[in-house]
Subunit: 389 residues, 2 copies
Amino acid sequence: VGFVAEESALTDGNCTRDSSVEKFEIVFPGLPHKHCFVQYGRGLFERAAEFASSLVSGRARAVIVSDETIASYYGERLLSNLNKCNLSTELIIFPPGESNKTWETLGAVLRGLVEAKVGRDGFLIALGGGVTGDIGGLAAALHCRGIDWMQLPTTTLAMADSALGGKTAVNLAGGKNLAGAFHQPAAVFADLDTLATLPLRHFRAGLAEVVKTAVMLDGELFSQLESSPLELLEQDNSRLERALLACARLKAGVVTRDEREAGERALLNAGHTIGHALEAAASGLLLHGEAVAVGLVLECRLAEWITGFPPAGTQRMINLLQAIGLPTIPPEGIDAGRLAGLLGLDKKARRGMVRFALPADIGKPHVSGREYTSPVEIDKVMSLLGRMF
Amino acid sequence: VGFVAEESALTDGNCTRDSSVEKFEIVFPGLPHKHCFVQYGRGLFERAAEFASSLVSGRARAVIVSDETIASYYGERLLSNLNKCNLSTELIIFPPGESNKTWETLGAVLRGLVEAKVGRDGFLIALGGGVTGDIGGLAAALHCRGIDWMQLPTTTLAMADSALGGKTAVNLAGGKNLAGAFHQPAAVFADLDTLATLPLRHFRAGLAEVVKTAVMLDGELFSQLESSPLELLEQDNSRLERALLACARLKAGVVTRDEREAGERALLNAGHTIGHALEAAASGLLLHGEAVAVGLVLECRLAEWITGFPPAGTQRMINLLQAIGLPTIPPEGIDAGRLAGLLGLDKKARRGMVRFALPADIGKPHVSGREYTSPVEIDKVMSLLGRMF
């Protein structure tokens, strides 16, 4: 353990700070008993197991939910840590990948919880990346109408973004994340050592969420990323650690103020409106983070038109994403008509209009009054995008 | 419209009372914007449609979720009422019955919501009995991570109990209601005219929930039920109307004080712990309410042993249920071992112990300190029940 985070990363009053800077707590005001203990560091499995065991009463039962790949790397070790803490735990695994984030997989995980005899007092540990957090978290939300859970993110994407904030979901045939719930985890333990097994393509893709957070909320972070983007790709580099923790703290601040995305939280959807549609249109060709990278570029172009975002900012965005090794233009063969149809299915869409979270400048979101998103007609989006395809 | 409810039925300060006594509002303290408008009466479809339309902004879309039977009776009429109010609505139907309250049916309803292009600002109307409320409510909880919804109960069971309080769930292979959520409806419109199409067996079964509410919370209501039980079976009888409304008001008071079943709400599970296990063990032979009726008798016996419930009370319970035409002993051929196993799967079970909500006397629950349920070893339950099989 033990890396020093930027002292300036956390300014929100609702997040209390531990003397050891890699830990903090998210407190949801108005929701009593809703705390989320967060720790970023190395070699954290033992601590995570102790924490889980301390939360669970007496002889209640727990499960680890994980995909086959991550379970093969870390499943046995975590099980052994939990058993040492006298937490009776079983492992529920499912096939890896976004294509398995389905209603059917979720049903199988829920049956697994019943078979493992996990009761209302039971506990669920999601060990893995964004897909695992989404499936595990939604299973925890639904099992016995809600049990406690924690996340052990093992990807850059999950550590920078998805592990915090309690959004859970699975995909339906009609679109991404269409069935879900808000269900806050009791804790997030991000063990940076687990990034050692993350394939480079996934490692890069997750960094798109870091870039997203920076462009919307932290211009200084964006500049730091620009100054040495290749260091972000070294899993044991302190610059990567600081960037991930900065994103976690920034996100914690946002979700503390707006858990249910009534306003500010929508800012974190930057790059995702076009990104989700592209991800679906590309039918598995693009990883989520890769689609978000392209979405960030296209939405920066949209922002030039709508919020006065500087064209030089779009160029900085393109340069940074390319330096990380992420795509900045849609893959060939994406059908524009299909993309337009998918944009209309966006959860934020309303009858021909779709809402975008856009930057006003690098590190500064466009906010108009209490509106954190800008409505744009899908036809106009497509005519703008048409020039870039 | 227009029947006069007992003035004494509502004493809780959190329920505000309309000048017309068949309406009231459930307010959840600590949950801002969480109000549930409740109305019991006749010929309410038009009002319900107006209410739904007033809740939904601009051109947002709505769906009615209903089973094939209820949809064939009332679907077109309600659709027409909603269209008159300019609420663009589609009908999503599924096959009727508890055996269809499955993960698969819920998945199909969610796909229907996507196909109907219902957005985050959309609305769902559950038209039917307990199964429809459970499926429709859980679909509303999950679609886009939660949309607004209302219930139009059409059964005695739903009007007396399940339509209020926001519990939603589907069954999994391992047991009843194992996957679910708390998701409060924005309104409940109980149109007593719809009881005209309810088959007598279902009509009777739902009255078990009336008896349950009375034995736990209202001794005077229990006496009224005893005084003329046959009038409860007349769908246009004012005694039935008063009994259903009394249950709704009593339940509203309980869920106002304890939405998430941290304590008091567990009292409403009387008869259901054994009832759920019996229902599953009987594999479709018993309706939910019939299983609850048998469960109430068996749990009264348990209460004699544990809370000092008077044996004469158990006899009154048996007489009342028999007068209504409900079963009071388990059907033949129920396997005791299977029943014990199913009791162990109860959501309230903890490693060999299961918790029961028991009466101390007719109309009076057993509450010990802040404990609203009593833990009993499953083996002891089975040895007691063994004598009654």
